[in-house]
Symmetry: C2
Subunit: 359 residues, 2 copies
Amino acid sequence: MEDRKKDLSERKKIILKAIIDAHIENGEPVGSKFLTGHKQISCSSATIRNEMAELEEMGFLEQPHTSAGRIPSEAGYRFYVDWLIDRYNFTQGEIDELRRTLNQKQSELDAVMQTAVTLAAKLTNYTALAIKPRQPRITVGRYELLRLDEMTLVLIMVIGGIVKTKYVHSNRPIPNEAAACLSAVLNKYVTGITASEITLPMMMEMERVMGEYEYLVSPVIKAVCETISVFDGGDLRFEGINRLLSYPEFYDMDRLRDMLALFEKKDDLLEVLSEETTHTPDDRVQVYIGRENIVKVMDNSTLIFKAVRDHGKTVGAIGIIGPTRMNYRRVIATIDHLTRGVSEVLGDPNGNDGADGNE
Amino acid sequence: MEDRKKDLSERKKIILKAIIDAHIENGEPVGSKFLTGHKQISCSSATIRNEMAELEEMGFLEQPHTSAGRIPSEAGYRFYVDWLIDRYNFTQGEIDELRRTLNQKQSELDAVMQTAVTLAAKLTNYTALAIKPRQPRITVGRYELLRLDEMTLVLIMVIGGIVKTKYVHSNRPIPNEAAACLSAVLNKYVTGITASEITLPMMMEMERVMGEYEYLVSPVIKAVCETISVFDGGDLRFEGINRLLSYPEFYDMDRLRDMLALFEKKDDLLEVLSEETTHTPDDRVQVYIGRENIVKVMDNSTLIFKAVRDHGKTVGAIGIIGPTRMNYRRVIATIDHLTRGVSEVLGDPNGNDGADGNE
DNA sequence: GTTTAGCACTCGTGGTTTTGAAGTGCTAAA
DNA sequence: TTTAGCACTTCAAAACCACGAGTGCTAAAC
């Protein structure tokens, strides 16, 4: 078997590769006539037909029905992958881009919200969303530093009751005592102020205090700023997008595609919802039906959400998006309970006795 | 307007509610005849027709075309939500379940892997997956405890170079010095052993050493065990599921549904892939075409993935899933580069000079 | 022996037509 | 005010048809 594979005549290989390439390109069965246009193939369609018939006999091609062209069989793809494709070369630019993106670490989404939104999707069987609104004035309340290994520190920050960790790599070895020293300095100088309030004189002062460890100040402060900025940047997360498919209203591929496109460009939606979430005075479940929605595409869809409060402050929102024909009763109740649950878990004593969520 | 709404005759309300309920249930327009079967409605279809015509005039109903039944308009839904639905009551069981799930915090997926998988989906325009295989022997290398507020500790664990944080709520106030004391005890007794190796005598010994703070030992150890168990439990994450829709092979709703169902029940897939990932000897990109796949549903789909190694140890895998008709060249190259990139970011010096990933 | 042109054959696709069922509105009777 | 009956409308599914694409085969050409 192994031998037979390599035994293909050069022309068969070219034809097979041409067929698979073309099929990968446009997804349709490819016929003999089409291949005559290929530059590496100079014989007539009849010859190609013969070759194709043989390739089919060998199991590399198959035809969906007699008057369609050929498509590659699984064995065909296998041969293609094993013997016919040459290596794809990334440009240096692409490689750099890739490394850069990998290096800038993503902030982890707040775990409770993540659990809640997953749960919301599961319980209602609609697509769920979690909103963390933009927060313009966010500050760090407390710092802690651990020395992880010779060159790495773990920076632990308490931001509004939430703990964030971030790794800081140094290019010089870090002595054991430097971590404690640095955390003391951070706690003294950069608590309770926003990222933009950290001034150059402050940094110089810190470097002076740090003495011989001054080289650690700049990378750590950079890490602090980064964390703050992703933290206050807002976030919008969907869960259970595929659940849309359970509903006949989304059987229409075009509508479905529109919806998914909406999920893709989160920024617009986030902008609108941030506004909506933070400025809603009362504490009820919000229901936007069809064209009541702020976003155009959401005709025929309903958005239901409720803000999550922690000690009276809005820290996010959890919601559901689905067809207008939605089980309102169940969804409203679920969202109501969930947001309260989250508030409770966050330690908000008022989580369970605010205004009634429904009606 | 507000008045008119409440002005609906009782019978109209019943009919409207019945129509919307029925429509929510089965998604189809509902006709007069169907409603005669409703228990609260005792008039004939002709009467109902008259009522429906009036409801339509008021704007609560509309008909898609003359010989279909009626469907609720947006105003109809609005009225329904505002006036007609009663509150859905969760059973106590459901509520408990919900609170329990919210309380057990999800471990955040390794940030780099998350970035990588998002990137993989974006670069290839197929659905990407990240696998963290089950790890039977996982231990904590180091503990750190912070007192967050009077009743709450933050437990910080270094597990295989990864930092995990977990909140521990106490039902008694926590003195300032308890945190330091407890972390010393943890570091002494429970480093380098797996969750199942923590014995009752060990816990009792720890409680003895802790003296008056012994009440903190049990909840903290519980938190440790939980963290370890979610950490070694394996994880499977998909990104860019919607990208499937770009490809005509998934225009068929049934096939699409099958595929999405596959994504839902991660456990099976994880089991198989854990095996596959950890026991693959060589360091290349794995390609499974069509029925070569271990999982049934994946006929007509190709799975491509490669293990991510960190200092020689397999810590996960990144892959792509898509139609058999796939741009193999590009995908293989992307996965290859990505896994290497991740290894590099993780600090693996061999990230970039292992066996050639392709061919 | 291999390649090519020609031709009859097959089969799916796209468009049109037909039929049937569902549901309505209206009218007249109860 | 309610109900039965009937004519009308409209969509959906089935049936039908013609077309085009692509093949396999045969016989002639190289």
